[in-house]
């Protein structure tokens, strides 16, 4: 037997230096080169696309983190403000809400520009300032009640149009009828500029305010809190159920036709479009259970349904990755099956499970489609105080601003995208950090 085989090989010995062999070798090398080139080019296309997206978001969005303020000497007229009652800050806030702050602003503006007298001109002069300028004055009064009756320089928030003009998004050389800022208003702004009264500061309003129809007052606070509440509910629901399911399927369930069916269905669920989960949430949580629309509770439950398959699949993979030697050692030392799972398998697979869950959460954070169905795509100014109050979410805020006609929302949209991206980066970074810190290598 062996003899025959050896002779066979000898008789089929190949001349590696023949031309046909060289050609074959060359063609194999060529194919490899082509494959490598394709791989590199697809990778570079992906990198270029990513860069283009990031750069375009950064260039339009970065100015959204700046706001324009105009300093103005405001005479805090005692006749208008009245005597200051002896109240705490909250009481003072209610007190000043009834006072015509606008007339303080108008009087101070007329003092600065005595030539402005007609109602129309005063109106357009007032348009340089945001509606929020009134709360700037109010806050100054609350912070220091002794200022009443004196003249004080207050830095007032400018309107979005002025902001756009100062940032160069509205050009001076456009014909007057075609821009939203008039020549007269530009002249006033030039005067302020000459006196060094115009400044650009970091836009804290963007982080402390809820949504607004005025771009300069719009902020991401209510959306961020809404997103956090929603994610909290999602995590509370989907993590225990997902991990429990994974443990049962991986460690306890018998392998039969039914568990196979369940497994296939879980894998399929992970690929179901998210809007379907929204419809499900609408039908079950709002229609059947009767929970309120737009509530983070409903959003969280709906997103939990969506994240469950991801968590189950990653948790199962993490549990499977625990070496059998450890399980056997635990059993060998007298642990029960349950003790083995909860004392050894689960702690060892926890880093993997958490990584998967965080990725699932990040996916839920970026989701708008299911929220559309359950009424979280809404204009909400007040920051939600609980999971039953109406609220919106960060990606929804991006969607709403992108659809607004006001020019100032363009940069706010990109700025909100940057905040959303930051959250995603932090969450993914946390997942990587946890994996590296707690992962055990065998």
């Amino acid at each position: 037997m062996t003899d025959i085989q050896e002779t066979d090989i000898v008789s089929r010995r190949v001349n590696w230096h023949s031309k046909s062999q060289k050609d074959r070798l060359e063609s194999r090398y060529r194919k490899e080169k082509i494959f490598k080139a394709l791989a590199v080019s697809s990778l570079s296309i992906a990198i270029v696309a990513l860069l283009v997206v990031l750069v375009s978001i950064l260039t339009t969005g970065i100015s959204g983190f700046k706001e324009t303020r105009i300093e103005l000497d405001i005479y805090l007229d005692r006749d208008i403000v009245g005597e200051v009652p002896n109240l705490d800050a909250a009481g003072l806030k209610d007190h000043y809400a009834t006072i015509n702050i606008n007339s303080l602003l108008i009087k101070s503006l007329q003092k600065k520009f005595p030539e402005v007298s007609s109602r129309r001109d005063v109106f357009s002069l007032l348009k340089l300032f945001s509606v929020g300028a009134q709360s700037d004055i109010r806050d100054t009064l609350i912070a220091d009640p002794d200022l009443v009756g004196k003249t004080h320089t207050i830095s007032l928030l400018s309107s979005s149009i002025v902001d756009m003009f100062i940032k160069g998004k509205i050009l001076r050389d456009v014909e007057e009828n075609n821009r939203k800022i008039s020549d007269q208003q530009i002249a006033w702004l030039d005067q302020f500029e000459l006196e060094g009264k115009i400044s650009q500061n970091f836009n804290w309003t963007f982080f402390t305010n809820g949504d607004s129809r005025e771009p300069e007052l719009a902020g991401v606070r209510s959306a961020t809190v809404g997103s956090l509440l929603t994610l909290f509910v999602t995590f509370i629901i989907s993590f225990p159920i997902g991990v429990g399911t994974a443990i049962y399927l991986e460690e306890f369930a018998p392998k039969n036709r039914y568990t196979d069916l369940i497994e296939i269905n879980i894998n399929n669920l992970a690929a179901v479009p998210s809007i379907i989960f929204g419809l499900l949430g609408l039908a079950i949580f709002i229609g059947f259970v009767g929970l309120p629309r737009s509530a983070p509770l409903v959003g969280g439950l709906t997103l939990a349904l969506m994240t469950l398959p991801t968590i189950i699949i990653t948790a199962r993979a993490a549990i499977k990755a625990v070496p059998p030697s450890i399980k056997e050692a635990a059993i060998g030392l007298g642990a029960s099956h349950m003790q083995m799972v909860f004392h050894h398998v689960l702690p060892l697979s926890m880093p993997g499970i958490l990584t998967g869950s965080i990725i699932g959460m990040a996916q839920a954070l970026g989701e708008t489609a299911p929220l559309l169905m359950i009424g979280m795509v809404a204009f909400i100014v007040d920051t939600p105080g609980g999971i039953m109050e109406a609220s919106t979410a960060l990606p929804v805020q991006v969607y709403l601003w992108a659809d607004s006609p006001e020019r100032g929302f363009l940069e706010k949209t990109s700025a909100a995208i940057m905040v959303l991206l930051l959250f995603l980066i932090v969450m993914n970074g946390l997942a990587i950090w946890m994996r590296q810190k707690f992962e055990k290598k065998w």
């Binding site: 129809r213 050894h344 009424g375 809404a378 204009f379 039953m388 006609p405």
Partner: protein, 395 residues
Amino acid sequence: MTVTKHSQICPITVTNRDYIFHMNRKQETKENKEIASLKLKLINLIGENYMYKKTTITLMGIGMIGMSLISTAEARDQIRIVGSSTVFPFSTAVAEEFGRSTSFKTPVVESTGSGGGLKLFCAGVGESHPDITNASRAIKGSEVELCAKNGVSDIIEIKVGYDGIVLANSKKAQQMDFKLRDIWLALAKDVVLDGKIVPNPYSTWNEVNPELPNKKIEVLGPPPTSGTRDAFAELALEGGCKKFPEINAIKAENKDQYTALCHTIREDGAYIEAGENDNLIVGKLQANPNAIGVFGYSFLEENNDVIQGSVVEGSLPTFENIAEKTYKVSRSLFFYVKKAHINTVVPGIEEYLGEFLSDKAMGDFGYLAEKGLIPLPGGELREIQNTATNLIAMQ
């Protein structure tokens, strides 16, 4: 020698033993620290192993959170508004100002589209149903019936103003001067040619009308799901379509065929569905001076440094022309109020109506006009204000 060899071969076993030992210790300390008191109580209740107790505690915790959540559900103190995305910018502006200047909470405004909004609105009376719905068209008979079936009987109709649908192009290009018949001929799927109905043969504007420039027909507009598209089809396309005697002959015979002919937009690439986002269309118009965009007047108003409205039937889409109805492609905007909710389900509806119809909002220099709403003329406004203050329901 053997020792080294052993440790080289079996480092895993050693580590594992260490690890298991370590884990047990860690869990004990954790147990002592965190749940010692709870454990004492539970040991008497459940004489089972530690993990069961831990699971029980977790389950109890979740249960408690769940209970506390349900108990926080309380009566509504926020007005809930749903409906048209066209009215959304105006409705939200009023809601914000209302929240700022009164002691009521800022209403929640959802953008669901006119049809979706009316469906939610008509679903019933009570806390879980919206109080107000915005619409970029009048309520239909079938919707009134649906409302009545669900117990929503008294509906107050408030007309808030007009919205022009503009055809606009880049300022870099020549301003267009359309007749309604040009718009239909350029965009319909089938057109009338020499008395016969044929698939749309036109590819440039000057083929449609020799007075128009020799440029490819390229129109960016909203998709069929949009209310703007419905209104555009009804006002501009049908407006042009019915100028042909052949079409009117069909109308007399077969109304469905007439509607199909007048409203169906061609699908061969001349009309490009640009999504619901009108800002996107504005951006594309700047990049492509040959293209014409179709969108609401407020977007033209915000961007008239870069784009220009086209003349339609001799009239430019300006504030005055739309208000005076000389600009033909314009529609009325409404909102509907559930009378049964006023002062019973949620406070502040009357005050919201007052804010919406006040001079501060609807006047010539009001903040809604600034946002691009074309307010009602004086007489009509007084009438609507009267409806609102006396809460007169629709008949």
